[in-house]
Amino acid sequence: MKTPERSPAIARALAAEKDGLPKDFATQVAQLAEAAAEARSSKWNEVALGLAFVAMIGVCIVGWLALGASESVGSQWLASILRLAASQPLLTLGITGVALIQVLTYRRRAASQSFDAH
């Protein structure tokens, strides 16, 4: 099939139409894209931070069980952990503090993202 000829008349007629994009469209879109990229990367940071936190808790629990509670087995494990927590107050306080900071940081980020979205 032949290739159609281009029509300068159609081109002229269509070129006379103005586009409906705002003047600073490129700037706005670039800012939005940057913010979206930032949000994506901070989401992965959150995931990594969460995993690290879980791993840390795991290590602590294993440590407690191994070092402080050779008698803690079976259905008594929760009571045993609580007893250990009471017997090692500084460690308990540290872990609780880290957990609290994590929760507060997450809440603050979530709130600021929701504010930015509006």
Binding site: M1, P4, R6, S7, A9, L14, D19, L21, V29, L32
Partner: protein
């Protein structure tokens, strides 16, 4: 001999998050994006969809493999976003030509000059109206071919249609425009 092309340099600058690089890309291709999206969906939704197009371009740019020109890749994203929007609106692009039909129409030899003579400056408004009255897909193809002056293979990349189908659409659209201008009282020379 491993010299990067301009497009590769440009894409790398954006992926490296060099300030202003993405904004420059948007500025260069926003008209193309507008022409595609506006012709497909109309004025009201076009700005939002153009924005969506460039946000997607930014998100997917690391997947761009330079298998086609960057312009065509961006155009394809714009086209697919507009098409999906039309489908969501339950106003799927009505085509007066089956996408698979090819070769049905051959143009008369002097068609372009006829149309150019008809559509001089004072008839430009009527010509625009006639283009606007075309169905979404041929309207977009006419814009890409005559206004953006994209080659047929690039239009094929953007729309996913094969080249014969695109040519058929273009011939049929030209015939339709000619008829439409006649009906609007523009005399052919």
């Amino acid at each position: 001999m491993n010299q990067e092309t301009d497009e590769q340099v440009r894409v790398r600058a954006i992926l490296d998050r060099r300030p202003g690089a993405f904004e420059a890309l948007v500025r260069d291709y926003q008209k193309l994006c507008w022409h595609i999206v506006y012709r497909m969906v109309g004025q009201d939704d076009a700005p939002d969809l153009c924005q969506e197009t460039f946000l997607r371009v930014h998100r997917l740019l690391h997947q761009f493999r330079f298998e086609c020109p960057l312009k065509a890749w961006i155009g394809r994203i714009a086209y697919s976003i507009a098409l999906r929007h039309l489908e969501r609106r339950r106003a799927a692009p009505t085509s007066y030509l089956d996408d698979e039909v090819e070769g049905a129409i051959e143009p008369p030899g002097d068609e372009a000059s006829d149309l150019d003579a008809i559509a001089d400056r004072q008839h430009a408004d009527r010509l625009r109206e006639a283009v606007a009255a075309l169905p979404a897909v041929p309207r977009t193809l006419v814009t890409l071919y005559h206004l953006e002056e994209l080659p047929i293979p690039e239009i094929a990349t953007i729309t996913g249609m094969n080249e014969g189908t695109i040519k058929s659409h273009l011939f049929r659209a030209r015939a339709s425009l000619r008829d439409s201008l006649r009906r609007r009282g523009v005399n052919e020379p």
